[in-house]
Amino acid sequence: MNIRWDYLLIPAFVVSFVLLAASQLTFLRGSLSTDLGLGMLSPTIGTANYETLFTDEFYLRSLWLTIKVSAIATICTLVMSFPVAYVIARMRSRWAMVMLAGVVVSSFVTIVIKVYGLIVIFSAEGGLNALLMSIGLLDKPYTIIGNVPGVVVGLMQFTMGFGVLLLYGVVRTIPVSLEEAATIHGASRARVFWRVVLPLSLPGVIVGSLMMFNLCMGAFTSASLLGGGRVFTLPVLIQRSVIIETKYGMGATLAAVLLVSVIIINLVSVFLVKRLRAARLVIA
């Protein structure tokens, strides 16, 4: 058929390219201007913001905290969602649909609502603390509001629905017959998992983890609301400097550092996966 499909690419490419290039260039240019107060930016270009950022331990610690919290949340979500995804993918009853529905509803609902729920659950005078104290597991109320575990739990809530759906897709690509073959030849359940399921799903799991990690790096709802103004990840600092302090220059600089960190981490991971593949540690 001699239809010129190529032309169809033009509208999407033009829109995406213009939005991408214009937004990224203007904000990177803004990151080179110092703040003059009241939201005004200096017309001259300089690296003053970057110098402040890389010499102030506060900002560096915040960058490290962002990466750490995102990585922990990604790993926890992965460990929690993989068995769920596996069980649903291998189910043959109608319950599989019901279980999937539960996951989809969770990803329909905005994270802010789930954070409300977490605050109610973990509030000091809430039902959970009352229960744990009455059976003697705790002697004083435990709360995750205003500390790092709280932020991790919030990020897990944010990515888990997405994670289960993604891993479900990965497990579905592994033929059951391979597992059955291994079982018939005498492999135990655990051995089937470690030698068949895990290696075959690893490429998909790595891609999925990166996507979850990227989501965590850009999310500030959980950190802002569950951090209770005490956990300063980079997204929280960016929101504060832009919205509360109207320091657009510094906000842009922080955003640029966040962006570059995410790009570097993604590139390094892709490179590592390629090396693993070359060393035949990963089948793909």
């Binding site: 239809i3 995406s16 279980m99 729920g117 605050i119 850009g218 929101q239 955003a255 962006l259 995410v262």
Partner: protein, 276 residues
């Protein structure tokens, strides 16, 4: 097929899955539960609820309904726009003879990899610069918010449609074409129906991305013009009252209704299976 035998392993699996679901669903259940509580109105929220009441539902602030209306309208039009841009682009990349297809695929994935806060800040900055130059300020306008969401939502449609197209049998089109169907008729009667699952899934993701977004909308809205998640975000700091929980519960119920609708009209399995 393996023989069913209950073992410690399967019990552990059951417990693990149960725990994961508790983790996933508890916050939403707690929100609905505590919105029904009729006691201790002033000291904040109570779960499990004591006196069941619907009084908080009557006190949902009008701003919440306005914000919800904006969010729904925005998400629907973003999903529509993302399809309008995404479907042709996906067709071009799978069918076209363009060199460097992998470059374009990677290019269209870029908005998904940029951290959402960065996208928000970048668009705000862009709107200021454009506004200073032309006098047309897009921040805190529907158009400005729309462009920001369209930017991040379009890749989802492209992704799902490309995934469906790659599995598509070209012979079907050739057959229709050789039987004398016009290119447009072939597209409308053969190609479009087969890529529909991908379109549905992509549109749904685009809708969800826009409807639940906080980090981008945070920068592109203003008091009096806010999306629902942003309204709730500020509500948590200013008035953590049961009426806010009631409004959140309504949205959870809305999500359930949407899910039933999706299951009826498209089928949940199509949506989940066309994820790339």
């Amino acid at each position: 097929m393996s023989v069913k035998r209950p073992s410690i392993g399967s019990l552990a699996k059951l417990l693990w899955v149960g725990w994961a679901y508790l983790f996933l669903l508890a916050p939403m259940i707690v929100v609905i539960g505590s919105s029904l509580d009729g006691t201790k109105a002033y000291t904040g929220v109570v779960f499990p609820p004591h006196d069941l009441t619907l009084q908080w539902y009557k006190q949902i602030p009008a701003t919440h309904f306005r914000a919800l209306g904006l969010s729904l309208g925005l998400a629907l039009s973003v999903a529509f726009g993302a399809c309008l841009l995404g479907i042709p682009a996906a067709l071009a990349m799978v069918r076209g003879t363009l060199p460097g297809k992998s470059f374009f695929l990677a290019f269209f994935r870029a908005p998904m990899q940029i951290p959402a806060v960065v996208t928000g800040v970048a668009f705000l900055r862009l709107y200021y610069v454009v506004g200073d130059a032309t006098g047309l300020f897009l921040n805190a306008t529907f158009a400005g918010l729309y462009l920001g969401h369209l930017f991040v939502a379009t890749p989802y449609v492209i992704g799902t449609v490309v995934a469906v197209l790659q599995r598509f049998n070209l012979r079907l089109e050739e057959a229709a074409f050789s039987m004398g169907a016009s290119p447009w008729r072939t597209f409308r009667r053969v190609t479009l129906p087969t890529i529909m699952p991908g379109v549905h899934a992509g549109a749904l993701y685009a809708f969800m991305v826009s409807f639940s977004d906080v980090p981008i909308a945070m920068f592109l809205t203003a008091p009096g013009f806010v999306t629902y998640p942003v309204e709730l975000f500020f509500g948590i700091e200013t008035d953590f009252s049961p009426s806010v929980l009631a409004s959140a519960s309504l949205v959870i119920l809305l999500a359930l209704v949407a899910l039933l609708l999706v299951q009826r009209v498209i089928g949940l399995d199509t949506v989940v299976h066309t994820r790339r």
